[in-house]
Symmetry: C2
Subunit: 343 residues, 2 copies
């Protein structure tokens, strides 16, 4: 998707904005290829897949060495994997003064020491390290926090719904359907991982909360994020997805009791990350009608930022926090941002 967007806009960017994007290397999970004069972003994917004589076996160390050897001015590295191995190479890449752009959460939610190494390398060498799309896809969340912080504001609290899946499930949990049926709906509509527990365990949302907390200057580790389990142990331990759903159905009455108790008080359940006072916690909250979280629809994400300057009225950003097209667009924006800094 990113390659298609680059292909479709390379000319307009060069002509209208004097920004020249040149794809000089590419890799998928098996092969990699290079051409300092430029690869065609239209065709590179299928060449990697179908024309082994044009490429070589992929190897992240060799990939980095190749970029360094090419020694092109204004090179940038873009990682669109979810790989730990690639994330582990960012320090070497930044050390070579090559910007890193990524939607991959691994490095950003890695142990604090590695995170700090990357941030320090980026800052000390003035090399862009851009990862807007690690949280809420292309919604301008990270850049906003960074702008506020750089300009001397202090973020005091972030409240956020960071999981599209959990947003969808709780936005639609209105008593018309049992909880387990909503999870089945979410799965059927492609909102969940193959095993919905990979969303319902809120680990991915917690990783995003960690990234936001760190962006605000908090020295947190993933292990210190407090995650309130949505599911009881019986569901988590179920040996298969079918067994999980069978267990979940047994919990429908308990979920409904919690929902209707909230509804009786004019409230609704939302699974919210709260980052405040140096800590981050994700939990099921009862929100009243005027809460910004009650305005969520579909699988929308929302981030509510309270700071010294946004003290009485918060800054709110809302919208789709996932999806190939918006995410690719956000990565592309970060590439352009890096290009502008380098020109």
């Amino acid at each position: 998707m990113l390659l298609e967007q680059i292909a479709g806009n390379q000319e307009a960017l060069a002509e209208n904005h004097k920004i020249q994007i040149n794809l000089v290397g590419a890799a998928d999970s098996r092969r990699m290829m290079f051409n300092p004069r430029g690869l065609d972003p239209h065709t590179v994917k299928s060449i990697l897949k179908l024309e082994p004589e044009e490429s070589e076996p992929v190897n992240i160390q060799a990939f980095i060495e190749k970029i360094k050897t090419l020694n092109l001015p204004n090179a940038a590295f873009c990682d669109c994997t979810a790989s730990d191995d690639v994330a582990a190479a960012y320090d070497a890449i930044l050390r070579a003064a090559i910007p890193v752009i990524t939607p991959n959460k691994r490095a950003l939610s890695a142990p604090l020491q590695y995170y700090k190494t990357l941030k320090d390398l980026s800052r000390d060498q003035g090399v862009p390290f851009l990862y807007e799309t690690t949280v809420c896809a292309a919604l301008p969340v990270i850049s906003t926090i960074r702008d506020l912080t750089l300009a001397g504001d202090k973020v005091r609290r972030i409240q956020a719904v960071l999981s599209g899946t959990l947003s969808f499930i709780f936005n639609n949990f209105d008593g018309t359907k049992p909880f387990s049926a909503l999870v089945r709906d979410a799965k059927a509509q492609g909102y969940t991982e193959p095993d919905p527990r990979d969303d319902l365990n809120a680990k991915d949302a917690a990783r995003k909360a960690l990234i936001l907390a760190r962006e605000c200057g908090m020295n947190l580790e993933f292990s210190s994020i407090v995650i309130e389990d949505i599911l009881p142990k019986s569901c988590l331990d179920a040996p298969s997805v079918d067994a999980f759903f069978a267990e979940l159905e047994k919990c429908d009455a308990a979920f409904e009791a919690r929902r209707s108790a909230a509804a009786a008080a004019g409230k609704a359940l939302r699974y919210i990350a709260i980052i405040e006072d140096g800590a981050a916690k994700l939990s099921l909250q009862e929100e009243s009608a005027e809460s910004p979280f009650l305005s969520l629809a579909g699988s929308e994400n929302i981030v509510v930022i309270t700071s010294d300057r946004y003290a009485t009225m918060p800054l709110v950003i809302k919208g789709p926090g996932a999806g190939a097209e918006v995410t690719a667009g956000g990565v592309f924006s970060d590439i352009i941002r890096a290009a502008k800094t380098l020109v």
Copy 2:
């Protein structure tokens, strides 16, 4: 406020982010002064006011000549006035390859030809021209539209409440008070200009709509923006603020009739800018409960962006769209952004 924010963060920016901000020239509406080694942002305002031997009479041409003569690397010009004269000098400043940063709407809502000249100068020379705070103060609206557009997305529709005053009045128009009383409240709480008609005529909101439309690539002039009058002619023609309020009270019944008709259909009135299909229009709309505009509180602004990529779920940005502190913070962010591009 901006000077205080710079003063308070100069050290941290230099130490933690290697961004050196040096104030080398300053002017108020009467005097201007320079020091290539740096002016103290803490004291410069009072020196301009109280120590005429340190400064000279202000003159925008002389100010620009002085910056050019100093020929400092990475100079930037920041206009925090609302002056047409200063805005008219941006072309000369950009032509000298000096970035312009401003919350002043004048140049951005000037005749299209001047707007285009400035945008072309900025692009052709790679000189930042940054004006995030001309619309909704520091809310990340302009930068988001710019990011989307640069990365090949196409904004299809913007719906927005761009006036804090009109937001406050209509958010609180719930039948408990007559319309004229709400306008009096808004004035008493400092939400309006001395003459509230300067807000109620929606000209300022229309100027912001024009800036957004142009950012989306529409070649619009201010005269082509359609503004639905909120007030009848009798109110607009009233010779004084007191006379205006007397006239407005006569209209209370009509406003209430319109409100209660909407309320009977489960709707509420909001004054909304809609930018779509190459045109921009501001009008009083009846919004239903699920509308994002019904979630507005206080004097909040909101911008709802629908694009090719944000097609089914829009991107929503909401929060305070005015205020000295957030606006200064946004201008400061733009200064830092320019600095990063220049380094």
